[in-house]
Symmetry: C2
Subunit: 494 residues, 2 copies
């Protein structure tokens, strides 16, 4: 570990390598033996569990219930919505057989050719099709609507280039799938959920996001409108962190889901879907961490306070540990998670570095001198500030710090993000800002797919979104010179 700590690549030397190393060294995740699939290690999973718990509470508070739908989707279902299958066909894992048998020519086992499935099954890359095929039986009349379901599940998309958390063949996520009687209600739901994601990103992840609509070209396959939250990473690249789709009647028509309205007439049902995934872990790591390791907002930190005794000999340790335990008990009563690290086989300097790597928000250290003086050393991970404080009032101080650190991390990320939004009006400026500074670019766009694609081909920048709060503003497209009525948000992205 000591070696590992020192070896963390500097983020300004190689951001991508810094990220990969940090994920592994902080014990968050690692690559598995299966191409593109990751192992989420206990420390990483503990953060994901906190994300899940907070999101799940927010979903339930907005009237949603959890359910569970099959992992497998019959190939024929998958093909029913034309845009949908087009969007996902190239990245599907396909189950074709259901049995192994002993290899007649040698040792080991082979796939049993006699056990071929009549219809191949797709491992779900997303569940609209299997869910709408199910909803068909749940919905007869307007009284059965709305249906507000969410599912926590694993999904598989056979990505060619994968990165831990950011893009993996298998990932964990939640997918909400709702059914409504009217277009307006479905649109309202899609908007409500993107704002739930925004609230979660800002209040739990300390991550400011821009809410907006995707351009038609970047919409979810099968959606009429895709709302997104876009975050900015410290290297100036954007990261799409959650999406909420208004699906119109596309899936209802593909699966023939109609209901009898109050007037006794048959109508197709309106749909939304929305999801966030373990990709949020990548956003959390990249948005806040530094060359010493992770910086975790207290609300998502598995360990919020770590205590390290500074001692010589068993007697001193016993005394300090007792004092720590008394403080820990008080902190735990306030709902603050605490770890006392009294390992005797590593030095305290090593422990300090380890908890910095792991992003523990507050570190307390206490030695014999502190015991005499009634003091304690308190270090903040977010600012790296250290000070010696009185043990008196310590619990209240730490309780306050939890909020203060949470907000400070947000403010820092927000200040960075604001400093990285540039309004540009010419194509030369567009390219220059993108190359020299990066970040978000607010520019006029003529609204055509051709221009969008041309800009992407020329610069690798895409339209991240058309912000919901973008004011009307007359201008000309930065690329084509054609008229435009509002600025959209461009960036290079993950």
């Amino acid at each position: 570990m000591a070696k590992e700590l020192k070896d963390l690549t500097k983020s300004d030397e190689n951001y991508s390598q810094w990220y990969n190393e940090l994920v592994v060294k902080a014990g968050l995740a690692e690559n598995s033996a299966v191409r593109g699939c990751m192992v989420i290690k206990p420390y990483g999973y503990a953060i994901w569990e906190k994300m899940q718990a907070a999101l799940d509470r927010m979903f339930k508070d907005t009237g949603h219930q959890n359910a569970y739908f099959p992992l497998f989707i019959p190939k024929s279902f998958f093909s029913k919505e034309a845009h949908h299958v087009e969007g996902f066909a190239k990245e599907c894992a396909v189950v074709t057989h259901y049995r192994l048998k002993n290899d007649p020519h040698g040792k080991g086992v082979v796939v049993d050719p006699d056990a071929k499935l009549e219809e191949e099954l797709i491992v779900r890359p997303t569940s609209e099709t299997i869910i709408w095929n199910t909803y068909k039986n749940w919905i007869q009349s307007y009284r059965d609507l709305p249906i507000l379901c969410n599912q926590w599940a694993n999904v598989v998309r056979w990505e060619m280039r994968t990165r831990l958390f950011l893009r993996t063949a298998e990932f964990l996520w939640q997918e909400g799938h709702t059914a409504h009687a009217t277009r307006e209600e479905a649109i309202e739901e899609a908007e409500k959920m993107i704002h739930v994601y925004q609230k979660f990103a800002e209040e739990w992840m300390s991550l400011p996001v821009v809410v907006g609509h995707k351009s038609p070209n970047e919409r979810f396959a099968g959606a009429e409108d895709t709302l997104t939250i876009e975050a900015l990473m410290q290297d100036g690249k954007a990261l799409q962190s959650g999406t909420s789709h208004f699906l119109g009647q596309n899936f209802a028509k593909a699966f023939d889901v109609q209901y009898v309205n109050k007037e006794g007439k048959l109508e197709y049902v309106w749909a939304t879907s929305w999801g966030v995934s373990t990709r949020l872990m990548g956003a959390l790591i990249m948005a806040h961490s530094d060359n010493n390791g992770l910086v975790l907002p207290p609300k998502l930190a598995p360990i919020q306070v770590v205590m390290v005794p500074i001692y010589k000999g068993e007697d001193q340790l016993t005394e300090i540990r007792a004092r720590f335990e008394a403080i820990a008990a008080q902190l735990r009563e306030k709902g603050i998670s605490v770890k006392i690290d009294d390992r005797d086989n590593v030095r305290s300097g090593f422990k300090f570095a380890e908890y910095e790597l792991k992003g523990v928000p507050v570190r307390l250290a206490m030695g014999p001198r502190d015991m005499e003086n009634g003091t304690i050393e308190l270090a903040r991970r977010d600012t790296l500030e250290k000070e010696t404080v009185s043990q008196e009032g310590l619990v209240e101080r730490i309780e306050g710090l939890m909020t203060e650190i949470q907000e400070n991390i947000f403010k820092k990320a927000l200040a960075f993000r604001e400093s990285m939004i540039t309004k540009v009006d010419t194509w030369e400026e567009f390219k220059r800002v993108l190359d020299e500074k990066g970040g978000f670019i607010l520019a006029h766009w003529d609204g055509t797919v051709e221009t969008e694609v041309a800009i992407k081909d020329a610069t690798k920048a895409t339209i991240r979104c058309i912000p919901v709060d973008a004011p009307d503003e007359e201008g000309v497209c930065v690329f084509s010179g054609k008229p435009s009525h509002r600025r959209v948000l461009f960036a290079r992205s993950y």
Copy 2:
């Protein structure tokens, strides 16, 4: 729904059909369009979530952490432990391709033959192999041990005959996988976890279970010892409800996982694994429910108290609803979940039947007369008793009832189970009891696989377990007449 309620098959007419109908009609689960895979509906999933939360807390309290490992297992890994592959090969879903493409001969999509995987992937039926391949990199010295991980996940076993919750191709479960320095510590862990399951079954599910060892023939594929909890259903058949395996060094040897012990010597690591699944839902339903529907122990009931207003006209409803809401607020403060059902399109009798079907532990009904008298009608689901009680002290009374009902359901199940354990000493008696009464049979067995198989072939009864608390007792095998030193537990089972 009214039709559905009346149509529930009587359990004594056709137990199996009663079960299937109950699962569907109570809104717990249904078959999906994918062979053998179920949809867990919101009401069923809400019970599963409560099970998960309680178990997860118990796992964490015993020092375990959650993690997540890949859905897919390379075929070669799967084959490394000989007994393991033998046990699971016949029921594996196999991913062979990773892309679809447009069918050149017609419409729709087909599997792209050019996108064949170099090595086929097994959809995990259980994760020992991929996890031990991972642990290899986590374990170097005794300081890295123990590893105490749990995973909440979906697994797939291609079963030919499936039944909702009891046996499905895909199911949800948790699987604990621990690594230890010594044989003794691993055995202790396996025992600790089977007792965690026992405690959960008894205290949360109100389900008495027998704890014991599986006979060698019934062990998990790759285990040296399998501990089990066995429950009895109301039709007299046993249901294996959870297992905990001492895996010896089998997987450590298969994946070459060694550690340096305190003396500096290399040793193979010792392993356990343990799991419970959505099968527990089947146990919960079959153990307690009746011809009116589910009977849920309060600790697992998504709705613990339902309130039904009895009224004529909007004014009465407004008044009653206000009173209900005041009571509901007090109950919620005590952590009791409450639903007020003021639907105006169904009669209250229909509502009563619906909440009986759904197993809501306590039902409150209030009409104008009750409003005048300060009374309320209180009905218990477990006993079907109804009484008119004072509104005064109602909250305390209901709080007490939650515990009382939880215990009463357990006591009833325990009394039934005890009445269904029969000691038999002759083969004729064995067959007679099995056919006429069913339940558990305590009988002597000579300890051989031959006898075990012969008994199963003759009667369909298997050795459910060798109970951990079975006293030493000399006797002769009920089948072979050979000497035996303790009785074992036989039953027909799910």
